[in-house]
């Protein structure tokens, strides 16, 4: 079974077994290692990618179910010259953490800070980030950065 999808703007074909978790195809076949298979239970958010614009836990998503879809990993969330607003804000607020949970948070924040997706409040941002677990630092500066993007301050 050949599975076709658009990955970070590129049309790709995969011959992986259809129930293979998307995360394994991304990491093992495409060497896109930003998404991490940490809990494989949908609790930690480290494997988060965008599928058709929606944050999706790639550890629980069979590759066959994204046939024809548009997948964006953290590696695809770039722009040619300057970082996208979320990434610039995270840097400006000194919120960048280690690479384990953080790529997933960047993916969800990219979605969350789109107009109309989330109220510009700390409570709403924290609710929106439910399912992202950081075990080493904290969340407050990440929330500061998201709030700054939503309020157009970054």
């Amino acid at each position: 079974m050949t599975i076709r999808l658009t990955l970070n703007g590129e049309e790709r074909e995969f011959a992986a077994p259809p129930m293979t978790p998307l995360i394994d195809v991304l990491r093992d076949d495409c060497h896109l290692t930003g998404a991490k298979p940490v809990c494989r239970e949908g609790f930690c958010g480290a494997c988060m990618v965008l599928v058709d614009g929606i944050p999706t836990v790639s550890c629980l998503t069979p590759i066959a179910l994204v046939e024809g879809g548009k997948v964006e990993t953290v590696e695809g969330l770039t722009s040619a010259d300057t970082p996208p607003p979320v990434q610039a804000a995270l840097e400006a607020h000194d919120a960048v953490q280690c690479g384990m949970c953080f790529p997933g948070m960047v993916v969800s924040l990219t979605h969350l800070t789109q107009p109309g997706e989330c109220d510009a409040s700390r409570a709403a941002i924290k609710a929106g980030l439910t399912g992202h677990v950081c075990r080493c630092t904290g969340y407050e500066r990440i929330v500061d950065a998201a709030l700054a993007v939503m309020e157009g301050r970054q």
């Binding site: 494989r40 949908g42 066959a64």
Partner: protein
């Protein structure tokens, strides 16, 4: 390396095709909805099926129809779709909040109503508990036809529906009850609730309880009604009744399951407080 073996997957576009595929596969085939439970089978040391029939691309299974009399929810509607669709249905606040609060945003975008009802050995289903409180019915279909079961009958039979059968929709009659959903995760959100209490209450003109349906989830292996408390509350004035006090001596009707997040006794111990919160939410919704 993938922890999974290599089952086949069929992705039909119509319900008829899905039922035909499942009929052909027999015991070798299993329906696949959002995948959030099935994809964790290896972590539970459970075998994968030989073949899955994915239901997510069947348009009629994703529809939610809302009328003044009832709500019909296609089994492949996700938690996120359901929460959004019920935004203005305050009588179904229990179901709306169950859909909006369970798990986390990414899971709510993937996990479906049918999956929540059918996940085998999943003891903490918010939707199934809310639907039990709302006295919903479940439509189950196979290639030969369909039948409707009450939620109670469905919960008793789930896991034994037999090959070739799928849940196609859930029907909730809008009968003038008020409803509320109360759950206790150990963190504010994102983990499985220690206990769930979902209530639907009908009042008379004097605001006395005519009928209280109280469903309890996550305490035992399968959600069930708290009938001893329901009976004790009948006839009580909603504004004055101390629900938690009446619930306390009746909590021993449940035998809590031990789990990594909480011991069984604790799940039972929190029930009076949770049911009190649910009734408080009902009362505040009425004013």
């Amino acid at each position: 390396m993938s922890p999974l073996s290599s089952p086949a997957i069929i992705v039909p576009e119509t319900l008829a095709d899905a039922l035909a595929s499942l009929a052909e596969l027999g015991a070798d085939g299993t329906p696949l909805a959002g995948g959030t439970w099935i994809m964790r089978a290896p972590l539970r040391d459970e075998p994968m099926a030989h073949a899955y029939v994915a239901l997510g691309r069947i348009a009629e299974l994703r529809r939610i129809k809302i009328s003044a009399k009832r709500v019909e929810i296609g089994a492949s509607a996700t938690h996120a779709m359901l929460a959004a669709a019920l935004e203005r249905c305050d009588d179904l606040a229990a179901l709306r909040n169950a859909a909006a609060q369970s798990a986390n945003p990414a899971i709510r975008h993937a996990a479906t109503v049918g999956g929540n009802l059918c996940a085998r050995r999943f003891p903490a289903p918010d939707l199934a508990t809310a639907l039990l409180g709302l006295d919903a019915s479940v439509e189950v279909a196979d290639a030969a036809g369909s039948e409707r079961l009450t939620m109670e009958a469905f919960l008793a039979a789930r896991g034994a529906l037999g090959p070739g059968r799928i849940v196609t929709k859930v029907i909730v009659e809008r009968t003038g009850h008020r409803s509320a959903h109360s759950r206790l995760p150990l963190r504010k959100a994102g983990d499985y609730p220690v206990a769930i209490v979902s209530v639907a209450v009908r009042l008379d003109d004097a605001d006395r309880i005519v009928e209280a349906r109280i469903a309890v989830g996550s305490v035992e292996g399968v959600p069930r009604r708290w009938t001893a408390l329901e009976e004790a509350l009948a006839g009580q004035p909603i504004a004055a009744v101390d629900v938690a006090a009446i619930a306390r001596p009746r909590a021993d009707r449940f035998t809590g399951r031990d789990g990594v997040e909480a011991p069984g006794w604790y799940r039972v111990h929190v029930l009076p407080v949770l049911v009190g919160r649910a009734f408080a939410a009902l009362t505040s919704a009425a004013t």
